[in-house]
């Protein structure tokens, strides 16, 4: 149990250091410890007795996991904690210690180098404009020539004020920096304001 706790501590530390987004949960971290330690005891109880193994499967089947796992990474860490427990319960200390160190280092390295991040992200651009056909046409022409991809996803028309807000999802081209694209758009007569949001690939939907 002591070894399982120590190894789960390493996993929990790695998880906490490399977590991104808004779904961080302390209870998930505690669950990692519980899973590791409980699994080690389960393995000790089962030993090499097949009857006990089948009874445990039956007994444990009454537990239902209703909590949605929000991030696929969480599943990986839970699985690692279970394996740590299995190894410790069956006295395979060296394999699980090696696995824990290797997996932790691997995850820390991948996190450090931001492996897998998409460099050219889509952005959301909100543009307030005077709602006249001429302004709209010019805006669409500039968007088409400035960005690799621009798709209108929303339009809010204020008839009283004669203003509209267009929301576009855009993908910047390879050559033009977004700041230059922004200058071109704001240079259109009739475009009033422009705001840009980066789509956050780390934040869960």
């Amino acid at each position: 149990m002591g070894v399982a706790t120590a190894l789960c501590f390493v996993l929990a530390f790695t998880y906490r250091q490399t977590h991104r987004g808004t779904s961080y949960s302390q209870s998930f971290l505690i669950t990692l410890f519980v899973m590791g330690v409980v699994t080690s005891i389960v393995m000790m109880i089962i030993g090499s007795n097949i009857a006990r193994a089948f009874s445990l499967v039956g007994a444990l089947s009454i537990i239902r996991f209703r909590t949605a796992v929000k991030d696929p990474r969480d599943t990986g860490f839970l699985f690692a904690a279970v394996i740590v427990g299995m190894g410790c319960g069956t006295a395979f200390y060296m394999p699980v210690i090696s696995m824990t160190i290797f997996v932790s280092l691997l995850v820390l390295l991948l996190h450090h180098f931001d492996y897998g991040v998409k460099r050219r992200l889509e952005s959301i651009v909100r543009i307030s404009l005077e709602d006249s056909p001429a302004v709209r046409e010019e805006l669409e022409a500039v968007l088409g020539s400035t960005f690799e991809y621009a798709s209108l996803v929303n339009r809010i028309l204020d008839r009283e004020e004669g203003q509209a807000t267009h929301v576009y999802v855009v993908r910047p081209g390879k050559r033009l920096a977004f700041e230059d694209a922004e200058k071109r758009l704001l240079g259109i007569e009739g475009v009033l304001t422009l705001s840009r949001y980066q789509t956050d690939q780390h934040a869960p939907v």
């Binding site: 959301i124 307030s128 798709s151 996803v153 204020d158 009283e160 807000t165 939907v205």
Partner: protein
């Protein structure tokens, strides 16, 4: 006007999935005639609830038979020139029914139902009967932009795509920048709520399209999300003013 019970399917979709699906369905659907030249219609709903948000908590508790009361306009704010409708939406399990009436001469105080002129007597009776049982007060507002389509063959089938959902306090006005405050957004700009509504059974092209796009139904409560975003306690303790009805 009382409408029959209908089925509602709701999906949260990415804008690219929505575009693909609407392209696939394009020969079965026609644009809503009330939309602007781009096909978008703003929808602003002022919901009414009890001072302790009974309708909101009934939704959270999953009560089988529940209702919502809202004043709706197809504009960015309530004003005399814009058509406004009082809607009482009743839900029985997965089926939904609406009672709806145009409200005449809404200004100057759209939050005061005691001054409203109902165009439809059935809705007026239903509303006053509800108001006699529940002390209704204006609670959250929900704003979004809708793209609406109706089927060219099935008369009762409607498909809507709602995006840019935002929550507002009662009486609060949307800024001229079209509600840019990200803290009030109920979902990302890249997502939309796709709804398919029909009083008859759904045609195969709808279910085939949903299957091909790997959509799965999920509850998307606009009013409950808005209350949660504004804060239940903020609404209960300070935001709601009792209005004499």
């Amino acid at each position: 006007m009382t409408r029959p019970f209908r089925e509602e399917l709701k999906y949260v979709v990415h804008h690219s999935t929505a575009a693909t699906l609407l392209e696939r369905w394009s020969r079965h659907l026609t644009h809503d005639p009330y939309a602007d030249s781009y096909g978008y219609t703003p929808v602003l709903s002022q919901y009414y609830d009890t001072p302790d948000l009974a309708f909101y908590f009934e939704k959270l508790d999953g009560i089988e038979f529940r209702c919502k009361v809202r004043l709706r306009t197809y504009d960015v704010r309530f004003h005399r020139g814009a058509s406004s409708f009082l809607e009482i939406k009743q839900r029985l399990g997965s089926r939904v029914r609406k009672v709806r009436s145009r409200i005449r001469a809404l200004e100057p105080d759209h939050l005061d139902p005691g001054r409203w002129g109902f165009a439809d007597q059935t809705t007026a009776d239903a509303f006053h009967s509800l108001a006699a049982r529940y002390p209704l007060v204006p609670s959250a507002q929900v704003f979004y932009v809708r793209r609406a389509f109706s089927s060219v063959v099935e008369p009762s089938l409607r498909v809507t795509l709602d995006s840019g959902l935002s929550a507002l306090f009662p009486g609060e006005r949307i800024g001229s920048d079209g509600m840019a405050d990200p803290s009030r957004r109920l979902m990302s700009d890249t997502l939309a709520i796709l709804e398919v509504k029909s009083t008859a059974s759904l045609p195969a092209w709808v279910t085939d399209g949903a299957l091909a796009a790997e959509l799965f139904q999920q509850p998307v409560p606009k009013y409950a999300s808005a209350v949660a975003r504004l804060g239940e306690q903020a609404l209960i303790s300070g935001g709601l003013k009792t209005v004499r009805i």
